[in-house]
Symmetry: C2
Subunit: 268 residues, 2 copies
DNA sequence: AAACAAGTTCTAAATAATGAAACCTGCAAG
DNA sequence: CTTGCAGGTTTCATTATTTAGAACTTGTTT
């Protein structure tokens, strides 16, 4: 059940892939070996396979492994066929143009926030988030907006997985504090991030909910305390709300092209 | 040696992953089964493993498989640790701001062009390319710019893998025509795309070359025949050239942080 | 109600993964 | 030089996983 279960060879290979990813830079064989539970020969063969498959690349000059381009190809396909991101894209463009501030689209992945798309502010501000990056759920606007609408039976498990690290003095760093906050969010209908993750960074966030109340993702508009305030940002809620609803509707409506039509005979 | 070699279990699993990716939309089990060389039970288990690993997601309502979010996470890491893309990023921003037209950064992946980053024109034009997408090498500006500087011994293999499909009347669709074109590009120092891939779309492209002449990637500025001409675009060459060189230098200079320093003891 | 199609589980047999140990390097110290 | 050594690669008998035929469920069509 755990991710590190001895599921099979594929799991081991993917574990190695994650390890390389975690390094964040090209790695030599022995670096990996030190951290690996597998013996030399096994690790070696796993790496060979991954390189052979284009999931890793190997630089013979520096004898270093790095993540391969096949991943980028696959991820592009993943993004495209996810039901949310491609549909939301034009609306993000519109929202971005309208408000001129940083706009995020995020989904929940395991217990974390995955930023699936982003538009920079007209006058960009440096910050943590990036499309494809994951962030904490308990101290980001999008994260809290999604947590607030999770079904009661899944919420505890998710909360249990948060690190509750206090990034800033304002970070809510306990499940209890969070439950109160989530109640407030449900009453309000949207979430704030009041410098809970990065000092000076604030945002308003709204969940994207399916008609049956399921959490599809979240939208946020982010700025800085230097430029604006939560009061100001709150004025954008109706606009964001409107867009979140449109995206939700379209996501539910849009069945993939052809679906009942002649299912296209295979093999002539 | 071929990609479909019976390399092992990992290869099979990845093949299935590609298959799902190729569908471009959620797939049902039997759709995959029809196209799969594996028997029911085998395919079934492979899918289970991939879902368990988060490489695929499974929607029980529609009983459909789709690519999973773990891929997006991995790909982000891949992009970040590739030596080219993160370094080039600020320069793309600058180039984009300066010229106001669509800007591409591409690398060669197998025999194809992989767009690793992109900036839209101030007034965006609809076109094929997208970050993460692959495209043909023989009929795009970035593709030809890179082909022109490939070492003689690898070029033939790459050319042999092109489809030579004539997307437009202007597409160069034979290795012979291409060799002449590549000679011209080397003399000129940059490549054009004169509506060879999409009608009405033109561009100038320059390779990003390492100090030893290796092809690291390519940069292009793209527009439409309605808006400008190749003559006009050509005026941008010095600007692009300059940026391509800067990127190349920085890529070569930038060794990852710490490298000779105390290699950070593992395991206390 | 019967037939069917899609999806799931079981199993012995086949196959692929494993890892200890031996083997290459090239380099640095004696 | 030549010895020792660390990083990397290969071998091979052993072991564990994967395989795929067939039987079984379940839900849907005629």
């Amino acid at each position: 059940m755990a991710a590190t279960a001895s599921d099979g060879t594929v799991a081991k290979a993917l574990e190695v892939l994650d390890q390389v990813a975690a390094y964040g830079r090209p790695v030599r064989f022995s670096d990996l070996l030190d951290q690996s539970p597998y013996p030399k020969a096994t690790l070696y063969r796993l790496l060979q396979t991954l390189v052979g498959q284009g999931m890793l690349s190997f630089d013979p000059d520096r004898s270093c492994y790095a993540l391969g381009l096949r991943l980028v190809r696959l991820a592009h396909a993943a993004w495209q066929q996810s039901s949310l991101a491609p549909i939301a894209r034009p609306y993000l463009d519109r929202l971005s143009a309208e408000v001129g501030e940083t706009v995020h689209l995020a989904q929940l992945d395991h217990a974390q926030v995955l930023y699936v798309d982003k538009r920079n502010a007209r006058d960009p501000i440096p910050m943590y988030s990036q499309a494809g990056k994951v962030g904490p759920a308990y101290c980001t606007g999008v994260g809290k907006a999604m947590l607030a609408y999770l079904p009661d039976n899944t919420l505890p498990a998710i909360l249990a997985q948060q690190s509750w690290h206090a990034f800033t003095p304002k970070t809510l760093s306990s499940p209890e504090a969070m439950r109160a906050e989530l109640d407030a969010i449900r009453v309000r209908g949207f979430a704030f991030d009041d410098e809970e993750h990065e000092p000076g960074i604030i945002c308003v966030a709204l969940p994207i909910l399916s008609s049956r109340g399921g959490v599809l993702g979240a939208l946020s508009v982010t700025s800085t305390t230097a430029r604006t305030s939560l009061q100001e940002l709150q004025k954008l809620v109706p606009t964001i709300q409107q867009i979140a609803q449109t995206i939700a509707q379209e996501t539910e409506t849009w069945r993939f092209p052809e679906d009942g039509a002649t299912p296209m005979r295979k093999r002539a």
